[in-house]
Symmetry: C2
Subunit: 210 residues, 2 copies
């Protein structure tokens, strides 16, 4: 089944939102409620859920547990995902802790840095290796996804190396524009771009949200 990226993004958001509902066991939810909580339109929500084969009950809405089970089946993967963080500065450490605390299938198995004091520091609960050995450890530890928080100057070089070593997903927090093969899933997290987008819309309101 070919789900559009935006639908996948929204399905994951539905799950994240509904997971926090403690009383979910016996709960039903209407598309307009989900839509309201995520600033979407009810039509968009119904279309997404129809795409994954779920239809709501006109009077009661969607059964939350069925919805969650279906999304889990679609999104989760039996083996989980091995993740590595490149760069253990402020941002890398924050992202690492964020993932470790989350209840997700993402498992951070290693970090990489060039700073010798960080390489010997085990305080994060995972090994930190020298980035010069990244290819070796990516293959050895079967790392699927790399989170790039290191210098934008070396970002393309690191990307090339990890892709050769078998990584297929990259989350790029640097401001570097990365050139990657089509088979690689690249997600750019450019904070300045997002801030400028916010800036535009607070000066030009009445134009909807993303």
């Amino acid at each position: 089944m070919g789900l559009p990226p935006r639908t996948v993004e929204r399905l994951i958001k539905y799950r994240r939102l509904l997971e926090s509902y403690k009383e979910a066991e016996s709960m039903f939810i209407f598309s307009h409620q989900l839509a309201h909580m995520l600033n979407l339109t009810p039509v968009q929500v119904r279309r997404d859920l129809m795409l994954i084969g779920l239809s709501g009950n006109h009077r009661k809405g969607y059964k939350v547990t069925s919805l969650l089970k279906l999304i889990d089946k679609l999104i989760d993967h039996e083996d989980g995902f091995n993740v590595a963080v490149v760069g253990l500065g402020n941002l890398g450490s924050a992202v690492l802790r964020f993932i470790q605390r989350s209840n997700s299938q993402m498992k951070v198995v290693a970090a990489f840095d060039i700073d010798q004091t960080k390489i010997n520091d085990a305080s994060h609960g995972i090994p930190c290796y020298n980035v010069s050995k990244i290819s070796y450890f990516i293959q050895k530890m079967k790392i699927d996804i790399i989170i790039l928080t290191s210098s934008s100057v070396t970002a393309q070089e690191v990307a090339n190396e990890v892709i050769s070593a078998g990584v297929t997903g990259i989350m790029n927090f640097t401001s570097a524009h990365l050139d990657v093969p089509d088979r690689i899933y690249l997600k750019n997290y450019d904070i300045i771009t997002s801030l400028e987008e916010i800036g535009y819309f607070i000066k030009n309101p009445l134009q909807g949200k993303s």
Copy 2:
């Protein structure tokens, strides 16, 4: 002119990409080149640029300086934007430094925290105030945009307070779901959601990228 959010997002990306071209002064670029660099379709690029009133030359493409000037005029605001970071932990510090180093209209004018050692620390080059005084300083310093990196437990409370004090843009890095009025532009930066999206697409390739 009512530009769709996705178009605004892409226009900002075009600018960011082209700004790094040192030789831009005399350069022309084709829609397919821009599209390739940002994983978009040429049609999408042409539609975006048509929306802002720019048409390319069939043989030479778009003049880079004209393109940049038009986007500047649309996105930038004469007064710039005053930004505050709430939470000066690893993530807050990283985001702060990122913005300070960037060549953008975003100016971080203050930080807020609850930790007394951070409140007295001026090492970031901006004052850090107690979050209990956030309303006062938002009005006094005319802060437009808040970046939330503090605890997700207090996120909604902080959001309510800053909105009452006049903030109209929020970038939310916490995992909390925020409920805000329609006139507020809220951008959620959920790292786990993005990682799960990457996970889905590396296990289900051939489905395009975002």
